[in-house]
């Protein structure tokens, strides 16, 4: 029970991060390997605002999200759109996007290292115990989870009920046909990419409330987010959330029962099982 709830709390933050990546990969077709750095950026901002001005991370989120949105919009328009234009096939775009975002990822790690050094950073916010169903948990984890649930729900509703959400889902299913029915694919791709970055950065800010980060942890989270996206299915918000919670619980279980050093190995085990048995994702249909 203890493991289940702690895992669920962790999975909530993972869901946000992976949802950001899924919007970027599923809609904008950019496999963004610099996603983890956006997370670290969100965490950094929350840490900095809290230690410098005692601003609650829950408020910093409202600053981080627009900033990350703008940053990702610029990244997409300046760096990635030329690649989309010059790519002759989906495969070539993937290779180009992977290399370009790797470059972006290393450059941002390098800049963060130069500016802030390689130290770990964490801060103590809401580090009070609360009791749930007979066990005690840290309040900051629970708060982060509630915030993550709210944001996930908002994005889910927006995608399912609003007109831009409908268009975005149409692009995820059939990018070529979407254009034929009058959807402005390039504009919405940029919107999805920017939104994805904003969601990931928000996830980073929430995660930093209970997780120690440093300038180079980004890549670990990129990996986990990728595993979640593939497990949940590309472009599938519901699948992403289920997969993120599953990964959070599995990791917590492995860390508690076997060895805390094996969390990535646990994620990989899940990844291999998915690749072998359901490469189309949890809820995906074969051949889709």
């Amino acid at each position: 029970m203890d493991i289940l709830i702690t895992g669920l709390f962790l999975g909530g933050a993972y869901a946000l991060i992976a949802m950001g990546l899924n919007l970027q990969y599923g809609i904008a077709r950019i496999m963004n390997l610099a996603n983890g750095e956006m997370l670290v950026f969100g965490g950094f901002a929350a840490f900095w605002m809290y230690t410098a001005a005692q601003v609650s991370p829950l408020l910093t989120v409202f600053l981080v999200a627009p900033a990350a949105f703008a940053m990702n919009w610029v990244i997409y328009s300046v760096m990635l759109r030329p690649l989309v234009r010059r790519a002759r096939s989906r495969g070539q775009l993937e290779v180009d996007a992977i290399l370009a975002t790797f470059g972006l990822s290393f450059v941002s790690v390098g800049i963060m290292l130069a500016l802030f050094g390689g130290d770990y950073f964490n801060y103590s916010y809401l580090a009070r115990p609360i009791t749930l169903a007979g066990d005690t948990y840290a309040l900051n984890r629970a708060t982060a989870f509630v915030a993550a649930v709210l944001i996930c729900a908002a994005v889910y509703l927006w995608l399912n009920l609003s007109r831009p959400g409908l268009s975005i889902r149409a692009i995820a299913v059939a990018p070529d046909s979407a254009r034929l029915v009058g959807i402005d694919v390039p504009r919405l791709a940029a919107l999805a990419f920017a939104l994805g970055g904003a969601i990931t950065a928000t996830g980073g800010a929430l995660l930093s409330m209970f997780f120690t980060l440093d300038a180079s942890t980004g890549v670990i989270f990129t990996l986990k987010a990728l595993v979640i996206v593939i497990m949940g299915g590309v472009g599938d918000v519901r699948g992403t959330i289920v997969a993120a919670l599953a990964l959070g619980i599995l990791e917590t279980f492995v860390a508690a029962v076997i060895d805390p050093g094996l969390t990535l190995a646990a994620a990989y085990l899940l990844f291999i099982v998915i690749l072998l048995f359901r490469p189309q994702g949890l809820f995906g249909r074969r051949g889709a």
Binding site: D96, V109, L223, D259, L275
Partner: protein
Amino acid sequence: MIRSGGTSLALTALVLALAALLPLAGSPYWQSIGISIAMFAVLTTSWALFSGPTHYISLATAAFFGVGSYTTGMGIELLPYWCLPPIAGVLGAAMAALVGLATLRLSGVYFVIFTLGLAELVRQIIIWFQNFSGQKGLYVLTKITEAQIYWQLLGLAALVYLAGWAIGRSRLGFALRIIGDDEQVARHSGINTARAKVALFMISGAAAAVVGAILAPRYVYIEPATAFTPMLSFQVVIMALLGGTGRLWGPVVGVIPFTFLWEAISSSFPNQTTLLLGVCFLVIVYVLPRGFVGLIEAVRRRVAAREGVA
């Protein structure tokens, strides 16, 4: 490469023979640069054997290299040294086969993601095993000199070039080029695409593991954090793409300048190596999408065109 097979083989042999004279010059600095260049020449060329034609970006070099180092580290007390590199090669090929069978049937993205974390995965498992045995690292104490390591690497480089030349002329190499152009077409013309890709990935993995095994005596002390440094995989990708993967000799063209650049940056600005890697990736994508080789060929074509007019 394919057209003028005989001359280019002779030329390669000549260059390798000249390179083999380097230790006689006796300068430790050049010796150490020579080892770096030879090591990356083997790693990038074997990387490009697989990734060049198929366009699958492998980030598994560090994992194979680490497995090779650990083979030497664990085996050196039990077996004579000369049988360790071949064992490492077999282990590397076996690991590549497992990874390939799981991921190479699917699209390239899965492969990149999987190989990205592979070194970290193997590292975590080794650390976990070490918690039981209580040891933290391994000592590799041998009488092998730097020059001997260098010659072994050159020998391996010769083997890799020979293999690359042979593959380029074989049915397997032809099949891979078709797969790289259009996998659908390849499958329809009866090529077992998964098997061809796995076979080549095994060769590439084996070569990287052998390099790890050969270099282990140089490090004297091996621990998971140094043997599985993820930086290595990225360096290999950058050097190979910087040189160009379209030709067998392409990667080396990237290795030589990048090794000097890396030495210079890491000795004067050790904290900026990550930034350097990032900038190189961006340069490759935006400025040199086909590497130095592509650049050279474009210039040569322009010169030829101008002469044709005149």
